[in-house]
Subunit: 113 residues, 2 copies
DNA sequence: ATGTTACTTAGGAACATGTCTAAGTATGAA
DNA sequence: TTCATACTTAGACATGTTCCTAAGTAACAT
């Protein structure tokens, strides 16, 4: 069974902030500079930088310096670990329902005999 | 395009803590009492309660009182909003790649003529 | 060489989070 | 009724988070 993955802490926590989700949404459409990302976020630039730092720490984005501007990009495989964790739990849950169905079936068969 | 959903703040933030993920993992296998959930978490009961409170606030679990014990259960549809958000972003990203492919194709065609 | 642009760093205020201990309250058992 | 169990509430405390302003630094543009 899935053991403790610290990377998921960073990933899910990063996703827990609306500003950061908006940034990711923007980056899903393509690369953008820090100031492009900051535009429309009624927030000081250093605050946006903090969010970018968290997203990068969570491996959700990458960034590179091009001259004096920093270009940010979504990590292609960004969401996979989170999606995998979620579907693993769903799978366990489904399994549980199946076992419940089996149990009911067994009860009904026992009643018939 | 998906607007701001405060429920995702609670959901993803709740998922960002390892103790809470472990609790969810446990509940995916079936209901459990508070003390059953607390067992094996080297943590005082009130601390576990706090985690349960967050999970319930995020609609990831439900709980009911049975005598003096509280039974917690995973919400069946627990992960859907989070999964939907993640796949929506992936979809946008895939779309972007398609458009990039189109762009490259266009460049190559232009070069041929 | 100088000014402007685009970040970056530093430091701090306000509030949220994760944990604890100690002291309840409600139920069940004897 | 009295004791044990299973939470529950209250309060404290250290840390973490999210924002800010002010003061850098590096790369262009002129």
């Amino acid at each position: 069974m899935s053991k403790y993955e610290p990377s998921l802490d960073l990933c899910f926590s990063a996703l827990g902030d609306p500003t950061r989700r908006m940034i990711l949404q923007r980056l899903a459409r393509g690369e953008a500079s820090v100031s492009a990302l900051a535009a429309g976020h009624d927030m000081a630039l250093p605050s946006v930088m903090e969010h970018l730092k968290k997203l990068e720490a969570a491996n959700l984005i990458t960034s590179r310096k091009k001259g004096r501007t920093r270009i940010c990009a979504l990590s292609p495989e960004a969401f996979t670990p989170a999606q995998n964790w979620l579907s693993a739990q769903s799978a366990i849950w489904e399994g549980r329902l199946d076992r419940f169905d089996d149990y009911i079936t067994t009860l009904m068969q026992e009643k018939e005999t």
